[in-house]
């Protein structure tokens, strides 16, 4: 992706401030290399294409055969995407994972999403990575560590209320790990697609004061 100079960036920011949502979406499309690939303006090696998604060979892969699966519509991160596009991408990813096993004789795969630059997201277009793996390739070499019981509990207590709110499920005994079975199905009706703004900002709020416990935990655990 081309780097911008400080001046160009400032001018762009100014321009963006005065734009309507439609203009903004259009600008994002023009700036986005993946939108140009989708539009056929930049050539790619296609492995899957349907009305809403495109799967191509990554030219700068983690491993040979790395596939990038993307929605045709421009979204930066997953929380901006309508439910039907999310579900579609993940089921297509299953078949592409299978394709990697068969075509490349891969002995494993990773399905990987990075939401936000902190998570290693480098493209401005949402990408679902499907990465063929082999023993000893040393990719995504994560190690698991034992989490102290009390930390485990406090994570549980901090995440549960917000998660239930997002799921539209009532929490009967707040902050109590032993929950009775929620009766409600997890999916509140998908939002109207038109209500999803093409905002380039992640929908993330900064942590509020009462939630600092998680940060503290994260710092203790290196």
């Amino acid at each position: 992706m081309p780097e911008m100079t400080e001046e160009q960036r400032k001018a762009l920011e100014e321009k963006i401030k005065n734009m309507s949502p439609e203009q903004l979406a259009e600008l994002q499309k023009q700036q986005c290399i993946f939108c140009q690939i989708i539009a056929g303006k930049i050539p790619s090696k296609k492995l899957h294409e349907d009305d809403t998604s495109l799967g191509i060979l990554d030219i700068n892969p983690a491993a040979k055969g790395h596939i990038l699966l993307m929605p045709k519509q421009h979204f930066a991160i997953m929380p901006q995407m309508p439910d039907d596009i999310i579900t579609h991408l993940f089921t297509v990813a299953q078949t592409l994972s299978q394709l990697q096993l068969r075509a490349l004789k891969a002995t494993g795969t990773n399905l990987f999403v990075a939401n936000g630059p902190e998570a290693g997201q480098r493209a401005q277009h949402f990408l679902l990575h499907i990465i063929p793996r082999r023993e000893g390739d040393n990719l995504l070499a994560v190690e698991e560590k034992m989490l102290d019981k009390s930390y485990q509990k406090s994570i549980h207590a901090s995440v549960q209320p917000r998660l239930y709110e997002l799921l539209g499920v009532k929490l009967e005994k707040p902050a109590e790990p032993s929950l009775s079975q929620p009766k409600i199905q997890p999916e509140p009706k998908p939002q109207d697609q038109s209500s999803i703004e093409p905002s380039p900002q992640p929908a993330a709020k900064r942590p509020s004061k009462e939630d600092v416990s998680l940060d503290d935990i994260a710092n203790l655990f290196k």
Binding site: K45, L47, L57, I59, N60, P61, A62, G65, M78, M81, I86, F90, T91, Q94, S97, Q98, L99, L101, R102, A103, L104, A106, T107, G108, T109, N110, L111, A114, N115, G116, P117, E118, A119, R133, E135, D137, L140, A141, V142, E144, Q152, I155, H156, V159, Q160, R162, L163, L166, L167, Q181, P182, E187, A203, R206, D211, L214, D215, I217, A218, F221
Partner: protein, 180 residues
Amino acid sequence: MKCDYCEIIEQPNHTEILYEDTDLFIIVKDMVITPGQITIVPKAHHPIVEMLPHPIMEKCALLANKVSMALFDIMGGGTNILIQNGLAGGQKVPHVAIEIIPRKENDNLPLQWPPKQLGEADLESTYSLYQEELAREKKQPVDKIAPATSTTASAEEKPSAKKEKVKPDSYLLKSVNRLP
């Protein structure tokens, strides 16, 4: 011998369980890559991701998004969604799971990779391997995973996931089944 996830699933009110419905569990595991990591586990025992029926995958994906949003709200930063598939993919338990991993700037988790610079010849040879396989599948369709139906329909069904006929990718399956 039971797999680790099936064991958790069979204990009612297990402390690790954050959420439960007919098809899946959301848990806070004690072995994690980083604190705040949340795991989505389908209830039915499917060893590898290729075997997971589409409707369950759809549901897992939507919940992964909600968990990701919850972590954004609570912790700030970003998130990774990761499925480790097969031993070579880092899978530890022979039961499909989706990890949602909270990320912070400079947390130094090895969830990145140096992009390889591949030459055109390398890309072309990989691409032709894929195309040969796709052509083979066109002639002789591989056993598809369960048909994609709507999530809402599946939500009402009992998790009788044993019904679907799946012919897994045998090598991968055998290898994950050797997991303790």
